[in-house]
């Protein structure tokens, strides 16, 4: 297991957590979109993040190999949040198995959020398992992002 992505963090990001993804456009503006599930592959050292291309075209169009990417992972029950930054390795359409995983993620999130009194309508435009793209990226930095004065605290990083 990588020292950057501990087994706990790997489990965390592949679990029922809300995800936000950001890439950079030509104008040096951040794009913003939402993720539909993620997993860490210990063998390749890549984090695979799934994003609906139809809903978040700016994020996907600017997710080219070699480009930089940031993603946050928030556990809705206690707002524990990590931000992982890295460099994009590749981007491909989701396979059938990956799409099914994305659908499962949406269903888990709906169950969890409804238990927290978040209505389905409030999530209507946030969770999408259609037209998924897989963005694989090498993580380079991990930050704590939970709300409060320690938000943004660097937890681990790859030294150049």
């Amino acid at each position: 297991m990588s020292t950057l992505i501990s087994s706990e963090l790997a489990d965390f990001i592949s679990g029922p957590v809300m995800m936000v993804v950001s890439t950079r456009d030509q104008r040096f503006r951040a794009t913003i979109g939402r993720g539909t599930g993620a997993l860490y592959d210990e063998a390749t050292g890549l984090i695979d993040l799934f994003v609906c291309r139809a809903q978040w075209p700016d994020v996907v169009e600017n997710a080219a190999p070699g480009g930089k990417i940031a993603a946050t992972f928030v556990r809705p029950t206690d707002y524990l949040c990590y931000q992982i930054k890295g460099v994009i390795e590749d981007i491909t359409p989701a396979t059938e198995a990956e799409a099914a995983r994305g659908q499962l993620y949406v269903e888990r999130m709906l169950t969890l959020m409804e238990a927290l009194e978040v209505r389905r309508a409030q999530l209507s435009h946030s969770l999408c398992a259609r037209d998924l793209m897989r963005i694989g990226f090498h993580p380079s930095d991990v930050f704590l992002q939970s709300p409060g004065p320690h938000a943004g605290e660097r937890l681990a990083g790859v030294t150049a």
Partner: protein, 448 residues
């Protein structure tokens, strides 16, 4: 088909932080950074402000490139919008800063994080583009659009109704009835500050199972108290996961509990200002999230200031009136006796061991009862009350009427042996169902 132009004002439900907003920026190395925002503040149709508390990486990135991207989510419909922002300036004082600071103070209390969310500065941005995020596969049908509510017309009618009244009692009723009937605010109350503005006392309400006249709220506590302290309106659009806040009352002030909804989801309070001073607070609440909008808040602000001005004018007018004093019939001396206890340290009054009221209204009532036992006087003019130095009233000369209303309504609600009636404007009459046995706790006051 051309999509309608999106106005910033149309997105205000998305700014309330029910679903956190997200800000994205780019650093020196071209790396994106994501932060969460508790609130986006609407300034005008082309500007927003963001509170700068913790997100130092975001602040550094914005200082370098001058731009940011923000995504906001409408907590009712789930609709998402992306805003392109251009940084304009940072401020650590002024109207925008104070408004955001007040809101953050309220929200940090709501979340039990007192002091954690202290505002350092407010950053003002110009909004250069608004884009709607088109849902590829919405999970729920869009909610029915809300019917248009013409708040300016509603406010105009209520303001006219208030202005048509000359008496403080009917002015208050015109305001509350208008808010209930015209604007469909089902649960609301008016509170007035005491002379040193440390406590607000409830003087009139609508929509609760009891009136609660005389209930107190410390200034600086809860939505009502913080509105009074800041003299700025507070609107909490969704209280789903926040602790209930309006009735955050401490200490012995809860002798008369403030009425309130069991599970409010939306609360709003606006200050009543006149002649540069706080004259009171109007509070409204609802069991529905987002029941009140910022248009409601603006309309309520107009009504609140009209109410404050008219109460002040009525008070000044009552001061000028010299009523004709007719001798009222004497009370039935065979009637029962009741115990009247007056505590000097806080001017509180207990009748037959039950708390009635305190502060200036308590002091006034003691004065009336004492005068009656000494001379049989039962009618008192506002002019006479104001001139009596023993009452120590110089600091609140311009709101005697509202103190008398509070006292009269509290006596009516209590339905005890004492009441105040108004034979004519600028005059009150003490009514008895029994005779008082006065007990003063503490040093005896000097009456003329």
């Amino acid at each position: 088909m051309t999509r309608p132009v999106i106005r910033l004002g149309d997105l205000r439900n998305s700014f309330e932080g029910v679903i956190p907003s997200i800000i994205g920026t780019i650093d020196d190395d071209g790396m994106p950074n994501i932060s969460y925002l508790s609130h986006v503040y609407y300034i005008d149709e082309t500007h927003v402000a963001l509170s700068n508390q913790f997100f130092s990486k975001t602040a550094a990135n914005v200082r370098r490139l001058g731009v940011a991207t923000v995504m906001v989510v409408d907590a009712l419909s789930g609709a998402q919008h992306l805003l392109d922002l251009q940084f304009e300036q940072s401020c650590d004082s002024g109207e925008v800063f104070e408004r955001i600071s007040t809101h953050l103070d309220v929200m940090s209390h709501l979340r039990g994080h007192e002091g954690l969310m202290k505002l350092k500065s407010a950053d003002i941005y110009r909004v250069t583009q608004i884009r709607e995020v088109l849902a590829a596969a919405p999970l729920a049908p869009p909610p029915e659009p809300r019917p248009h509510r013409d708040r300016i017309s509603h406010a105009a009618r209520i303001i006219s109704a208030i202005g048509a009244e000359a008496d403080s009692d009917t002015i208050l009723d015109a305001a509350l009835d208008g808010l209930r009937d015209e604007m469909a605010f089902r649960n609301l109350m008016v509170l007035l500050p005491n002379e040193d503005e440390t406590v607000l006392t409830m003087v009139a309400s609508r929509g609760y199972d009891r009136y609660g006249t005389g209930a107190e709220v410390p200034v600086g506590t809860g939505v009502i108290g913080m509105t009074a302290a800041s003299k700025r309106p507070v609107l909490i659009a969704d209280l789903t996961r926040a602790r209930r806040y309006a009735r955050a009352i401490t200490g012995d002030t809860a002798q008369i509990p403030l009425p309130g909804l069991e599970a409010p989801q939306c609360q709003m309070a606006v200050p009543m200002m006149a002649k540069g001073r706080l004259r009171g607070v109007i509070f409204a609440e609802s069991e529905l999230s987002f029941a009140f909008t910022h248009e409601d808040e603006a309309a309520l602000g107009l009504i609140a200031n009209q109410l404050a001005s008219c109460l002040l004018l009525a008070d000044l007018q009552a001061q000028a009136v010299q009523p004709s004093i007719a001798l009222p019939p004497a009370p039935d001396t065979d009637s029962r006796r009741f115990r009247f206890r007056y505590f000097l340290h806080d001017d509180s009054v207990f009748i037959d061991n039950e708390y009635l009221i305190r502060g200036v209204p308590g002091r006034l009532l003691y004065y009336f009862v004492r005068k009656f036992t000494e001379s049989g006087q039962r009618d008192f003019s506002n002019r006479e009350i104001r001139r009596d130095s023993s009452l120590r009233l110089p600091d609140f000369k311009d709101n005697l009427e509202t103190r008398l209303i509070l006292l009269r309504r509290r006596l009516d609600e209590k339905a005890g042996p004492l009441r105040l009636s108004r034979p004519e404007r600028g005059q009150v009459r003490l009514e008895f169902d029994g005779l008082p046995d006065i007990e003063v706790v503490g040093a005896a006051p000097a009456l003329p």
